[in-house]
Amino acid sequence: MKKVAFVLIVFAVVMLIAPAAFAQEAGAKSASSHTGILAIAAGFGMALAAFGGALGQSRIGAAACEGMARNPGASGAIRASMILGLVFVETLSLLTFVIAIVLYLKM
C-alpha cells in the first residue's frame, strides 16, 4: 500500500512539473536565413567565455587556497576578496551568456 502511494506521489509530481517544463519548447521559431550562423556564434561565444572564465577563476581559487594555507588567520579577508574576484570574472562570462541569449532569440 505504501509503495502504491509512493508511485502515485511520484506520478503526481511528474504530471505537475511536466507542463511547465515542456512549455519552453513552444516558443516562437521564426525561421531566418542566418539561423545556423547565429547558432554557431552563440555556441562558440559561450564556449570561449567558459574557457577563459574557467582559467581565470581557477587561478583565483588556487591563489586563495595558497594564501589561506599559508596564513589561516587571514582566511576571512582572503575569502571575501576571492568571492569578489570570482564575481568579476563571472560577470564577463555572463555578458557573453546574455549575448548568446540575444542571438538565440533572433534565430
Partner: protein, 276 residues
Amino acid sequence: MEEQISRLTEWFNHLFGPIALYILHVLRVQPSDFEKPIPEYVVMSLMVLILGTVLALVLRRRLSVERPGSFQQVAELILTNPMKFGVCDLLDENVAHNPRKHVAVVGTVTIFILLSNLLSVFPAFSSPTAIVVVPLGCAVVTFLYFNWQGLRHHGVGGYLLTFAGSPRKIADWALAVLLFPVELLSTSARLLSLTVRLWANIFASDLLYAIFLSLLVKLTLFGWEKFHVLGVVLGILPVLIPLAFIGLHIFVSVIQAYVFTVLPAIYIGMATADEH
C-alpha cells in the same frame, strides 16, 4: 520563450488591472498587454515588498535587548556577523566617513534583492530579479545614491575633479584630460555591470533548473513508453536531481545579495574618499 503566468498574477490582474490601465492611460503609456496590464515581475516585487514589510513589522514588535528571539538574531546576522559579511561590517570596512549613515539605503537594496532572489525557490512564485528591469531599478537606485553622496561630500566641482584624479600640479592636469573620460565611462559602466550581473545570474540559475528538469522528464517519458516500470524508476530522477540546482540557486542568491551589498559599499567609499 513563452512566459508562464502564475495564478497570483492572474488574480492580481483581475483585481487591479483596470486601475493599472487607468494609471497607464493617464501617464500616456501604451500597455503591452491589455488583458494583463500588470506583468508578473511587478506582482512578485510587490509580494517581496509586502513580505519584507510584514517581517519587519513582526520583528519590531518582538525586539528586546534582554531576550532576543531567534528571529531577531537572524535579522541581526544580516547587519553584523562573525564572518564579516553583514551590511554594517561591509560598510565599516569600505566607507571611511560615517559608514552607518548608509545602512538604510544599502541594507534595503540588499534585503530586497535577497528576498526576491530566494522567492523563486517557493512553488508558484518567480524571482522578479530574473527580469532585467528589476535589477536595473536596484542598480539605478544605488548609482544615484552613491553619486549623490559624492556630490554632497565634495561639492559639484570637487566631485567632478575626483573623476580626473584630483589634479594639483600642472603635470596632473595634463594627465587629468586623459583620465576624465575614462573614469566617467567606467563609472557609467557600473550601472550596466551591476544590472547584468544580478539579472544574468538569477536568470541562468532558473534556466539551468528548467533545462535539467525538462531533460530528466523527457528521459522519464521515454522510459515510460518502453516499460511502465522503467518510467516509474526513472521518474525518481526528475524529482531528486533538480533539488541540487535549487541548492545552487539558494547559494547564488545569497552570493548575489552579498555582491550587491559590497559593490555599493565600495562605490560609496570611493565617491566619498578624501585624497591625501
